[in-house]
Subunit: 203 residues, 2 copies
Amino acid sequence: MTLQGKTKRQALTEFREAEILEAARKVFGEHGYANATVDLIAAEAGVAKGTLYLYYESKDAIFWAALTSRFREMHAQARREMQAQASVREKIRAGLRVRFAFLKSDEQFLRMYVTEFGAMCRLQGGPLQALYREAAEYVAEVLQTGVDSGELRPVNTLAAAMALMELVKGMFVMRFAGLPRHDPAFDGEQFVFELFWNGVAAR
Amino acid sequence: MTLQGKTKRQALTEFREAEILEAARKVFGEHGYANATVDLIAAEAGVAKGTLYLYYESKDAIFWAALTSRFREMHAQARREMQAQASVREKIRAGLRVRFAFLKSDEQFLRMYVTEFGAMCRLQGGPLQALYREAAEYVAEVLQTGVDSGELRPVNTLAAAMALMELVKGMFVMRFAGLPRHDPAFDGEQFVFELFWNGVAAR
DNA sequence: GTTTTTTGACTGACTGGTCAGTATTATGAC
DNA sequence: GTCATAATACTGACCAGTCAGTCAAAAAAC
C-alpha cells in the first residue's frame, strides 16, 4: 500500500515533470525565449501556472532544464555510439550520425539549440556552457588519440572539436535561413563529415 | 540660407542616426536583445526616448538597423578584398582576414553577431536572413569558379560557403564558451582556413 | 512669429512570480 | 473496511514591476 501509493505519486510527479519539459520545449521552440510566456507553457502542459513553480523556481530554470536535458541525452548517446567504434574515423562518423538523427527527429529541440544557443552562451558559467565544454572535450579526447596514433595530422584538437560541433549546428541553421533551396538531396551529415575529415585528416 | 540650414540639419540628422546605432550596438551587445531597453539606448545615445522613435519605428527596427549596418559593412569589405585577389585560395583567405579583423575589432558587434544571430534567424524573411544568404551566395560563387577551374574538388558550394561562415562564427563562440583556455596562441583564422581549405580543396 | 525638432513624463498592456485556498492521496485508529 | 486526520499536490486570481510606445509641451531653428 505504502509502496504502491508512493509509486503512484512518484510516477505522477515524474510524468508531470516530463510533460512540463516537453511543453516547454514546444513553446520555447515555437516562440523563442523572450516571447514564450510561463502561462503558455502551463497551458501547453495542462497544469496551472503555480504548478510549474513547484517544479522549477523560475522561467529561466524551466528553459535550462528543457534545453539541457535533451542536450545531455544527445551527448550521452553520441558518446556511447562513439565508444562502440574502433577507429577515430568511425567514432567521428558515429558522433555525427547521432547528432544529426537527434536534431532531425526533434524539431523543437532543434529550434532551441540553433536559435537560442548563442544567446544563452552570453551567461558566463551557464549550465549549457559546461555541457558544451564537456561535449567538446570528449570529442577532442577522441581526436587526440588519432593524432597520437598518426591517424590525424597534428591539430588543436579542442578547437577542431568545437569546429565540428559548430559545423553541425551550421548545417541546421540552413533550414532556418532557407538554404540551400537548390539541392534538396543534399546530405548535410556526409558533407560535414567529409569537410571535417579532409580538414583534419593526415596528409 | 535655406540650403545651409538644411545641410546643417541633415548633418545633424546623420550624426544622430550614427550615434543611435552606435549606442544601440553597445546596449544590445552588452545586455542582449531581451534585456536591452529603449530607455537605455536613448540614454547611451544622449537623446530622449521620443527622438529614437523619430528615427526608427520600433525597438526591433533599431536592433535590425544596428546589426545589419555593420554586417553589411563587413560583407562589403570582404567582397572588395576578395575581388582584389587572383586565386580562389587567396580570395578565401582575404575574406577570412576581413571577417576576423571585423569581429576582433568590434566587441559589441561580435556579441550581437554571435549571440543574437541564431535567435534572429527565427524570423523567416527577416533582414538578416537575406543578408546572410547574399553573403553566402557570393562566397559560393567564388568557390564555384574554383570548382570549374579544377582548383577545388566538386562540392556543394553553397553549403560549403555557409559552413565557412559558421566556422568563423564558431571560432568566436569559443570566446564566450571560454574555450580553449589551453592555448592562448591559437590562431583561429589560420585554423579555419586550413580546416576549410583541406576540407574542400582538390585531392 | 511660425515651423520643425526634441523632450521626457505618462500610459497601459503584459507577464513573472505568489499564495491562500482546494483537491487528492497517504496514514493510522478502530 | 471505513472514517478521521495529516501530508502533499495543485489551482488560478492576483499583484507589482517593467517597458515599448505616445503626445502635449518646450526648445530650437528659421
